[in-house]
Subunit: 704 residues, 2 copies
């Protein structure tokens, strides 16, 4: 077993890389619902979903705006997602007396259901192509800054019109890195209540060691209920539960919101990802993992407070480790290179793409400017990898600075015409902004001081103590003394203070003399300057990627799918095991395997079982399928996506990819890469026999 | 308790910083035994140690060449040190069936004592000032490279002459950063056998959370016995054991080998430490901590294999975090600045120091060159922070590359005149080199592959995939594939292969076609080039620091002590509690406190007690002092130093500093900074009543 450790996926990649280009009819693609893979499904599986079939699945799918997927599974608003998607809420509604992550939760009656502090759920209602209008706003001869502003103004106008007309959340989504713009309209739910969660040790059995591994034995589920007007929402499109689960080789579908893929990036941009961006984010994650582990080890209560952030950091560290290993594999890189070279050759051959030939260099140059601007942008304006607990600029981690930034920006941006505002502060995004700003999520002084001290230290180290912005930010104090001053001095912990200030004007904000707000104000100038540079270069890239996309559509046809954009996509694939190190890994695990794996590790964390799982072992049918793998094309953000069969029945829920799938960021492969799901049969068996949640089972099976 | 977390020491520093310059007769200094603080001891404590007193303590003190201190405590060669100093050996002599770190060890008879794989102990026999001869070798008009070579040749000649004449290990030590050169002669012991170690959970009770904290409850001890000609060595100078321990306010002495301090560095060099070097090493430690924690979590056996490396990494991470926080504290920085400015003003005022005024800029410029050269130097030649398990260049971590490097270098250097060799390969160092190269320490393929994959990935990220040296090193493979090829292909795991190759010439090495040796050879050119640049700049700094030292001696007198150099030093101080956050922390803890702290944490790791400590609690006198603090001036490397009273009796053993002491790297303070020791009384009580080691107790007390 000498290769069962850390970044061992390279070895596996070596095996599949040979076959990267062999699978002509692979189950590839994350397809928008307005351009589903009908041709592929018909050719390979002789399956032709109707438009009703597609609409039903689309509207039964739910996006967790915090970064995951889910689906409706009852007419009364029941939503199933992953435990690790719901965990952020389990963390926020807990306190020193209620450790829902550790202990789990079950609301026996609707009155017991607990309202989340800031969850927003989105259901996709329609998609409209608005490319012509968005691109029409950009006139030739405009500078990049002008073009970027004009494009944003057009997008803001489209979103506002749509919101005013339909009342629906309206987002213009950039597809093909700028090749197309589609308007997505969503029904929003923001009264979301917790119904059921298992213990985290069951949802994340095997912990970090087994994360991204297979075979797995995780009950990674969590159930919420959406409410409207304080009543359970009535849901037309919900998935019928199949309590048998899928069978081996069965065709299944995944409907969810994959976050981001890089498959259409140019090789130059991927090289920047490999050599600069990924080492940068891994440096962040290493730093934070150590910080949070050390903090957590000091007391049980610390561990509780940091649990969710720590999970997010470890999960991302492992994911990006895998992606970097993929990009450092010469065989992967050759495949990426061959793919691009083929298109570039075709572009070079055809005189009508003459202006497109420069697109690759335009992207390369813009990316170089973005890299140069990255330290200021990342430390002062916004960190690109958005991870739980660490939104906001790298120099100033923590929830209190985030509130101060949101407040000052909200008030400043409000004074501008809608079209000139930063996306987050447009009229069409107001409800989501307020949900975030007024979240009742608990804020802990010690944890805030810890993160702020750490990020201020990092900032001073990155720019040097004598840097003028560093000098201003530290105000003559050590990072710790400054963090203490800011955290104990601000009043923003109080939601009512935030609401009060939000309702006023810039002058009132200034008059508050809140140290955290003053700090946000202090760095606002250079932060916006960094954003402006970033936006201008992004605009150059959008135009160049649009040129490439146009050429690709002309050369390869339009039968491709855009990179993931955290919007609803349809993937498909067969339930399939795979070979690893000469061993066949079966598609399914079962409950017997769970008990066996725990025993192998002396039932010690993270392989320990909750007492009720030990006590009720004899109740269980140990041959019940627990988790399974399929070759559907998924990525982070798909967590919680329903897996359905051809009858559109719920047969499982995505919760992970195996370690060989971490390269799916930049290239699809089905040799070993697999999506990992919890089986619908396991969920029913566990709810019934371990958690004694028969009413919940009845609701899921429609027998109540 | 809102400030009981991570880097909270800044807050504490804030308090003592105010008093940085107030304590005129502080217990400051790490004094060479040939320049002891006689004046200070007489003035403050009316104590005048005789030369016999000093010689006895000097010769009873033992340096662990692996990086720690210890002392003789019986006529039959018994040596006491810290568990965390002996842990490296406990790790190396263990295997899947023998987990000495976890379980502890006690040799009931001498036949049961286990020989270490590569421990070397040094006892200081004499010190001789050779400054004139070393400086005399450097002629005016020489380039820095010529001067560096000439100085090294002179040092090599002195060491070889001394070794040939006395048979003793002979090291020329650079003091005052180049202000003086002293020849240290040591008696070597390399047959060192393990006698006793407690369970690591007792030695390191409280783990990383309590590391560098106080109050503490750690039995951080380990006992070895040195042998000569397969018999226990007869020791003339050993410390008499005092089984009562010290009392509050008692004057005590610490005799050990502090590793490195930066108190005489110029402010410019300290700024480089703060802004470049410390962030750099902390980045390494964060990366390794995450790697090793993830590896360790996968199985008990992994955890056993990585245990010692992980401890070293965590310990260093916390230590350097504290040092960086100190340097980022404006009040500390002001004190450092004032100290330097005072000397610079005095130098500027006196025309005879005219040539010295440029010394500060010479150091600054040389340091800038060292910084520029640092990536190549660190990744290819040698990493400056020498941590357990990670010696050698950063690009190629692991024991197998280390062997390949040592072998190729040993053979190449052997062909040169002694004076031109790298220090480690001089004739006078041959025995130590062979001890290291032929160590029977176990080498694990999976762990080697893990570290090598990680460091190759890091190397590619730092220099970019297209860098020519990166290209050569990775040989067209992914980091993991290359690591597998190297680790499974080399024969260097076999000590007899190393011995065989070492006995031959360069041609035989080449003929072996060992992939690891070929890799070492491949990067040897650029690595040596980086070393040459480094050495030349270090020579410039040495000359400049020598100028400054000369001026300082003239202005401030010679009553100061040089920065720590991992050579024997005498410190002194009183047993003293301190105030923290308005609370008085008493000087002593006791066994009752141990049980209480464990109970507060539900007896869960790292606050769990071994079963025998639970079972035998009733046997113990719970009021026995366990650990204590004093204001003696210590730093890393002092671990295991004996603490003696005025009667030269062993009353305790240093094992840590508190978190407020982490700034002692650059400045002494006694307001809160404390050295932490195990009480001699606790050791006897535990050996007798918990470990039932009466024969050992008898030997320590001289009653056998």
């Amino acid at each position: 077993m000498s290769n069962r450790f850390g970044p061992h996926f390279c070895y596996s990649l070596f095996v599949f890389a040979v076959g990267l280009n062999t699978s002509a009819l692979a189950d590839e693609g994350m397809w928008p619902f307005n351009a589903p893979p009908l041709k592929q499904l018909k050719e390979k599986y002789q399956f032709e979903p109707t438009s009703q079939w597609l609409e039903h699945l689309q509207k039964a799918s739910v996006r967790f705006n915090s970064g995951g997927s889910g689906s409706f599974v009852s007419a009364n608003g029941l939503v199933i997602t992953n435990h690790h998607v719901g965990a952020d809420t389990l963390q926020k509604i807990g306190d020193a007396q209620h450790n829902y992550l550790r202990d789990g939760f079950y609301a026996k009656t609707q009155a017991d259901e607990i309202k989340s502090t800031d969850l927003e759920l989105n259901v996709l209602m329609s998609i409209e192509d608005v490319t012509a209008r968005v691109n029409g706003a950009v006139k030739s001869g405009m500078t990049s800054n002008q073009a970027s502003s004009a494009r944003n103004a057009a997008i803001a106008a489209i979103e506002k019109e749509s919101k005013d007309k339909t009342g629906l959340r309206s987002d213009v989504v950039t597809l093909y890195q700028g090749g197309a713009y589609h308007l997505y309209r969503y029904k929003r739910y923001d009264d979301v209540r917790l119904v059921f969660a298992p213990e985290q040790q069951m949802a994340f059995f095997g912990g970090d060691p087994d994360n991204f591994e297979y075979p797995r034995y995780d009950l990674d589920i969590c159930l919420f209920r959406v409410y409207e007007n304080s009543q359970p929402a009535k849901i037309e499109h919900f998935l019928k539960w199949n309590s048998v689960g899928p069978s081996d080789s069965e065709l299944t579908f995944v409907s969810g919101s994959p976050g981001k893929t890089d498959r259409q990036l140019t090789l130059d941009e991927l090289a920047d990802t490999r050599d600069r961006y990924l080492p940068y984010v891994l440096g962040i994650f290493n730093r934070r993992e150590v910080l949070e582990l050390a903090y957590s080890a000091r007391s049980f209560e610390n561990a509780r407070k940091a649990r969710e952030d720590l999970f997010g950091v470890q999960n991302n560290r492992k994911r990006y480790d895998g992606y970097l290993a993929g990009l450092l594999d010469p065989q992967i890189w050759s495949a990426l290179n061959a793919r691009e070279q083929k298109l570039r050759d075709a572009i070079a051959r055809d005189p009508k793409f003459k202006s497109t030939t420069s697109a690759y260099d335009r992207i390369k140059n813009a990316q170089a400017e973005i890299a140069k601007n990255a330290p200021l942008y990342n430390y002062l304006e916004q960190e690109r990898p958005i991870t739980v607990g660490y939104r906001g600029p790298r120099a100033l981690s923590g929830d209190l600075f985030k509130c101060a930034r949101l407040l000052t920006r909200a008030i400043d941006e409000r004074a501008k015409p809608n079209g000139q505002r930063i996306t987050q502060f447009r009229d069409s995004a107001r409800e989501s902004l307020e949900l975030e700003l007024f979240s009742s999520e608990p804020i802990y002084d010690d944890y805030e001081i810890l993160r702020l001290t750490n990020s201020l230290t990092d900032f001073a180290s990155q720019f040097g103590v004598d840097n003028p912005i560093v000098q201003k930010v530290r105000a003559g104090k050590s990072p710790h003394a400054r963090a203490v001053e800011l955290v104990t001095g601000t009043k923003l912990k109080d939601v009512s203070v935030r609401k009060e200030l939000y309702s006023k004007h810039a002058a009132a904000l200034q008059a508050a003399h809140d140290p955290m707000i003053e700090l946000a104000r202090l760095i606002d100038g250079p932060a916006r300057e960094a954003r402006k540079i970033y936006d201008a270069q992004e605009e150059i890239k959008k135009q160049a990627y649009a040129d490439i996309a146009k050429a690709r559509f002309a050369i390869e046809g339009t039968g491709s799918y855009p990179d993931a954009t955290f919007t609803l996509r349809l993937s498909y694939g067969r339930v399939r095991g795979y070979e690893q190190d000469g061993k066949q890994i079966p598609a399914f695990t079962d409950f017997a395997g769970l008990y066996q794996r725990s025993a192998e590790h002396d039932n010690k964390p993270p392989f320990d079982l909750p007492q009720r799982w030990i006590d009720r072992k004899t109740n269980l049918d140990l041959s019940t399928h627990f988790d399974f793998v399929s070759d559907a094309d998924i990525i982070g953000g798909n967590s919680g996506s329903p897996v359905v069969n051809k009858a559109n029945e719920f047969v499982g829920i995505i919760f992970d990819g195996n370690i060989q799938s971490l390269v799916l960021d930049c290239i699809y492969t089905d040799t070993q890469a697999r999506a990992v799901s919890v089986d619908s049969a396991a969920i029913i068996e566990a709810l019934r026999k371990v958690y004694e949640a028969q009413p919940l089972v009845d609701e899921l099976l429609g027998t109540r």
